[in-house]
């Protein structure tokens, strides 16, 4: 029996080795943000018909990991919802370009008996995650939600345990809104969370914990909340309106953002009556100098994603890029050397 298994293994392995040598599609590897994972997998599926010679392998391991592995040059591209810091870029072996590909909203998801629709604002959210507001029937919450009966349940705040661009957008927003947060916890893909609640891996992990734990609250991309039909809150924006996260409200925030030439910008707490305050762009990061064939396929994909791909984004709850931004990015892509 063992001889037969050995022969079979050798045969299969041999077939595999032989197939290695035939003409194969070029394989482009990327990783990073779980924020973009839904739209990326859809894009790759559709793009396979446009460029039949390339295969895109994307693993959603978190924005921090995307940046780190790009710096280590173990990836062809990274995807991150947090821009790379100047320090990080200084340590890179080449110039790195930021290309915004989508913008999305971070939904504040929660688990309460009866699944009521809640309204929250930045100060309350900061209070919850700082451990200052501990029960759902706290006066600050009930004041924002007249007519909703809130139980005396303990609040369990869930945060990301891995390095996450979603965390970056969330903490960016809290830093802008709440001075204590800005001084103590600050913003980042991984922060020193106050000692409340638990950490979960990936947006998937956060969504999962929220679904299982009564009284919990968390943050995740809108797509995950909708996919799992987890209730999320309407947030009070800079104009004083309570807005739901949706492609429209995120687009409204994006429209008011000032975008510099290197495309690194923040759009939290954007002005405007319809803007959703906890929104952020998500970038694909590449080196300006792409060696060879893979680079051509990668840039080809990016040009498609920034233009044609934008028609697909709203179906998955992302905000499309405005036409003017698309043109600026195409110009930047023209500077890529091979």
């Amino acid at each position: 029996m063992s001889r037969l298994t050995a022969v079979l293994s050798a045969v299969v392995f041999g077939i595999f080795l032989v197939s290695c040598s035939k003409n194969q599609p070029v394989s482009v590897t990327g990783a990073g943000s779980s924020f973009d994972n839904p739209v990326f997998t859809k894009w790759f599926e559709v793009y396979a018909a446009v460029d039949t010679n390339a295969q895109f392998n994307y693993q959603s391991i978190g924005s921090g990991a995307g940046q780190k592995q790009l710096l280590n040059q173990t990836l062809d591209f990274g995807a991150s919802d947090a821009p790379m810091t100047d320090d990080a870029m200084a340590g890179a072996p080449g110039k790195i370009l930021h290309l915004p590909v989508v913008a999305g909203g971070v939904a504040i998801i929660y688990n309460l008996p009866g699944g009521p629709k809640l309204k929250l604002d930045g100060e309350t959210l900061a209070g919850i995650y700082l451990g200052q507001i501990t029960k759902w029937n706290d006066p600050k919450i009930t004041a924002l939600n007249p007519g909703v009966s809130l139980p005396g349940l303990a609040i369990i705040p869930i945060h990301r345990s891995d390095g996450s661009g979603t965390t970056f957008i969330f903490t960016d927003y809290l830093s802008v809104i709440n001075k204590q947060w800005a001084d103590s916890v600050k913003k980042g893909t991984a922060v020193n969370w106050p000692n409340v609640g638990i950490g979960a891996k990936g947006s998937e992990g956060v969504a999962d914990e929220v679904r299982q734990l009564s009284g919990s609250i968390g943050y995740a991309e809108l797509a995950y909340a909708n996919q799992n039909k987890i209730p999320y809150a309407d947030m009070k924006n800079a104009a004083g309106q309570f807005v739901s996260p949706a492609p429209d409200s995120v687009s409204a925030a994006l429209a008011t953002a000032t975008i510099p030439d290197d495309f690194r910008f923040s759009m939290v707490n954007a002005p405007g009556p319809n803007a959703y305050p906890i929104s952020g762009p998500s970038w694909i990061l590449i080196y300006q100098n792409q060696g060879g064939d893979r680079g051509k396929h990668l840039v080809g994909f990016l040009k498609w994603a920034i233009t044609d791909g934008q028609k697909i984004s709203p179906t998955l709850d992302y905000a499309p890029l405005p036409a003017e931004l698309q043109q600026r990015e195409l110009k930047l892509l023209d500077t890529v050397t091979y």
């Binding site: 293994s9 595999f16 194969q24 394989s27 590897t29 839904p38 599926e45 173990t74 947006s203």
Partner: protein
């Protein structure tokens, strides 16, 4: 006391039964032909399978065997046939130490040694880490089995004028072959379920494996990925994948027990 001991014994085997029961309940319905033959679909689409992960695991195991078996078996031969007692004590001790190294540490080391210089994750790195993990397991198992071959066989062979190395290969190892295969299979079953080292080496890949220098999917990695995805379809596939992996591992373990019991007549 008898009752207490009996209850403890029952409690001890309960988790195995529960795990099996829940995996079957949650995963069996998702096991179909598509599961074994198709690639994962895009997020939110139904259907698709883990075919690439199953093939990926198979490839990684073949690579691991290519590395682990020669080094492990030959090392075991050295321990059993050539080594002085003190030397073999140290090597055995070292092998036991290596067996105790957490698998995530193995992953870190192979990441630094293979993935970073290669500028990329690869099936090669994944196979290397699993193969290296197998070496101490196979070595210890081989040594023990070779010890069980009666000394008379060796002496008779040498008396006939056969050189020592051929005695070892053609007489001793061949006699112990079933036991060695057992040891190799158990080691393979053990590394087949490893996830942590693959996080930093094989990386995962939604396509069929084609090239050893590219990242590759693997069953435990895919299970880990899908287990926490927010999509019901993927989660069901994770349960199915877990069931398949568990069955594979249990199958190897059970057949190994059956083989050795016949041969050596071990008493409980």
């Amino acid at each position: 006391m008898q009752v207490v001991a009996f209850i403890c014994a029952v409690l001890v085997i309960t988790p195995l039964l529960l795990v099996f029961y829940h995996l079957t309940k949650l995963g069996f319905s998702s096991i179909n032909l598509a599961f074994f033959t198709q690639l994962p679909r895009a997020v939110g689409e139904t259907g698709g399978g883990m075919g690439n992960a199953i093939v990926g695991t198979f490839i990684l195991l073949v690579e691991a065997a290519v590395i682990g078996v020669p080094i492990g078996v030959l090392g075991g031969v050295f321990l059993s046939e050539y080594a002085a007692v003190s030397v073999s004590w140290w090597v055995r001790f070292g092998a036991d130490i290596l067996n105790g190294v957490p698998s995530i540490v193995w992953g870190l080391v192979v990441y630094a040694l293979v993935v970073v210089p290669m500028h990329g994750y690869s099936a090669l790195a994944g196979g290397i880490v699993l193969g290296l993990m197998m070496v101490p397991m196979v070595m210890r198992a081989t040594e023990e089995v070779l010890h069980l071959v009666p000394g008379g066989y060796r002496e008779a062979s040498l008396a006939l004028g056969i050189s020592k190395w051929r005695t070892i290969l053609q007489i001793v190892v061949r006699t112990a072959l079933r036991g060695i295969v057992t040891g190799v299979l158990l080691a393979l079953a053990r590394v087949a379920g490893e996830t942590a080292p693959l996080l930093f080496t094989a990386f995962g890949n939604p396509y069929w494996p084609r090239n050893l220098t590219q990242p590759v999917a693997a069953l435990p990695l895919q299970i880990f990925d899908y287990a926490y995805s927010p999509y019901d379809d993927w989660r069901r596939q994770a349960w199915a994948g877990a069931l398949v992996l568990l069955l594979l591992v249990l199958f190897i373990n059970i057949s190994v027990r059956v083989l050795t019991r016949e041969r050596w007549g071990a008493k409980p």
